[in-house]
Symmetry: C2
């Protein structure tokens, strides 16, 4: 990159992607997957009302730069004002803006070793220094995260609840308790992408304008709109306002705004989806158990399955599934990478998983 | 913004929007516009094939992080390889990434006084220093821009051809000739958002991998997909690769990718749209002339109309139109702000313009 006068930071960054997308995988293997159950997409799909709202949107008009109707509905849903809510291009986009607002060259940030890689991508992209703490019994460890934040004077501390990729979770009360040790100078970035799938009591039971925390939510998971790219954050208005300094104001797809609004308003569909998710989690657990593997308890729309050996073995099982048209993923870091991560699928997709898994395990044992 | 530890740069930035969106305007006036012809949207709409492709997209799946099919089609369309093309969340999004790659605190950038404000928003957002040169006879002035770039050692030089907000244009040959004075250290950012609407010979007639230039294109204008948020850039692969360092890889809406592909493949619809745009430009000119105003020649999907006095008078005319339900905009900078800018509309919308304009002018004269 010598010909162009990029900034020193940009010069130093790799051209990379936080993880390989399902479509790229399919091109690599040269055919569509039998079961696309690796990216924690919601195969049960969005509310038909959302589909209709998107189809009826006039796409010649720019999207509303304020996402006004959607924010108004979200405020009512969460019992906040509209000023507590920012809508953006998925949690990924919002994390990028947040990191940009807080993190300059050398600023410290804390996350768990093996947590969501896109957060790390953004931190690296703005020159921040990432400090990692290990998982504890396959759970993210809020006390260790906050202690590390104090040690390194972190500007941001990231935790997902429920966790991705493990599916484990803490009660909101546990997190609120742990937050008593959150240093005053650190903002808690609480990624609740999967929280709709979790048991009651998982949401953080603190006021939405608690200045210590920003919560990230999405329509990509329980609401089944990953392709639409609609995320939102909830925080004190003073922090939400800061997003207007840097965000792509006209970045929101118009149909996506309408689809998300319709999806939010169809809580009956959501309930039905969550029921399907719950049953699929059970079935994945059943299939894993039938094959001598150990499913971890999950409060998300996927299940981490312990393959019982090391990362190389889990990778071999994963490769065997992918070779049989079953797209799954696995954690990046040790010791979580003894698991593979299987997203909730339809009955037919899980039938295909059940059919493929024995041979994949057999192959892995013979590797 | 004292409670949060934003970066010093973020602290210093205003919470702002480059310009106020049409939906926000409508909320402010409390009703929908009779004619939404102020944001250079394409009221003639996208190809029905694009509408269908979007409606048929499974939105539960993430969008393709590589926009592979769209980039492949764009490469064929432009006679390049896929590696010459990056797809992003509108030109706005791509300009943000480009500025981020090149501009650090205090880095110099050159643009015209009164050109596209979103570029300036991004430059300010990364701490760059904006240098402006005046328009010349209502045209952007490439020679002055490049001379200024040499003077201030600019990393980026921005020019839109055709220009927004004036609608004026240079032949591609003129720009190529002027580029002989582009300093070696400056990248020419050529915004061709409206180029499909322009006469043959307006596109820059240089190889697509000329390392001195990056061209920005969009599906928001001629293709009628502003709400979908699909822009792309064409440049040498070495520069395109740099976008992968910082972009939101999974930021592209899945339906938008499919819609843009279908729109690109329906060149017949495009031709029909361009014919409608051309007729609407003529009609706007006619209406302006009938009211004693002077339409500027335009190669875009709008017409700048000289109201014959100063900015205050043009603003009064604009206010009179808006009060009558006709949404138009106007240039920000003197002397271009003696004009109002009217986007191409349907016959009915331009009928409404013709009906409202005499009274708006009369009101302005009496202000």
């Amino acid at each position: 990159m010598t010909r162009y006068r990029l900034t020193p930071l940009a010069q130093s960054l790799p051209a990379t992607v936080p993880f390989v997308g399902p479509d790229t995988h399919e091109r690599q293997v040269g055919r569509a997957f039998v079961a696309r159950i690796g990216a924690n997409e919601n195969v049960f799909g969005p509310s038909p009302n959302a589909v209709q709202a998107m189809a009826e949107t006039e796409q010649w008009m720019y999207g509303d730069a304020e996402s006004y109707e959607l924010r108004r509905a979200l405020a009512a849903h969460h019992g906040t004002t509209m000023d507590h809510i920012i809508v953006g291009e998925g949690i990924d986009g919002l994390l990028g803006y947040l990191v940009r607002l807080f993190v300059g060259q050398g600023d410290a940030v804390v996350t768990s070793d093996g947590a969501y890689p896109t957060f790390n991508y953004h931190v690296a992209g703005f020159g921040g220094t990432i400090h990692k703490v290990p998982y504890r019994d396959d759970h993210e460890d809020p006390s260790a995260l906050f202690a590390k934040a104090a040690e390194v004077d972190a500007k941001l501390v990231y935790l997902a609840n429920p966790d991705n990729p493990m599916g484990t979770w803490h009660s909101g009360a546990t997190l609120a308790q742990a937050m008593e040790d959150l240093p005053a100078g650190s903002l808690f970035v609480l990624d609740e992408a999967y929280v709709e799938c979790a048991p009651e009591g998982t949401e953080l039971p603190l006021p939405k304008d608690d200045p210590r925390v920003i919560r990230m939510r999405t329509f990509s998971k329980a609401y089944g709109l990953a392709g639409a790219r609609v995320g939102y954050a909830i925080a004190a208005p003073e922090l939400i306002t800061a997003f207007h300094k840097v965000r792509n104001h006209f970045g929101m797809n118009r149909a996506a705004q309408a689809g998300a609004l319709a999806a939010l308003q169809d809580q009956e569909w959501l309930a039905q989806t969550l029921d399907q998710v719950s049953r699929a989690r059970d079935r994945i657990g059943q299939i894993a158990g039938d094959n001598g593997l150990i499913p971890l308890p999950s409060a998300a729309n996927f299940v981490a399955v312990d393959c019982g050996r090391d990362g190389a073995f889990a990778k071999a099982v994963l490769d065997g599934l992918v070779a049989r048209g079953i797209f799954v993923r696995m954690p990046f870091a040790t010791p979580q990478n003894r698991c593979i991560r299987i997203s909730c699928g339809t009955d037919a997709q899980l039938d295909a998983l059940a059919a493929a898994l024995p041979a994949a395990i057999e192959d892995a044992k013979n590797t």
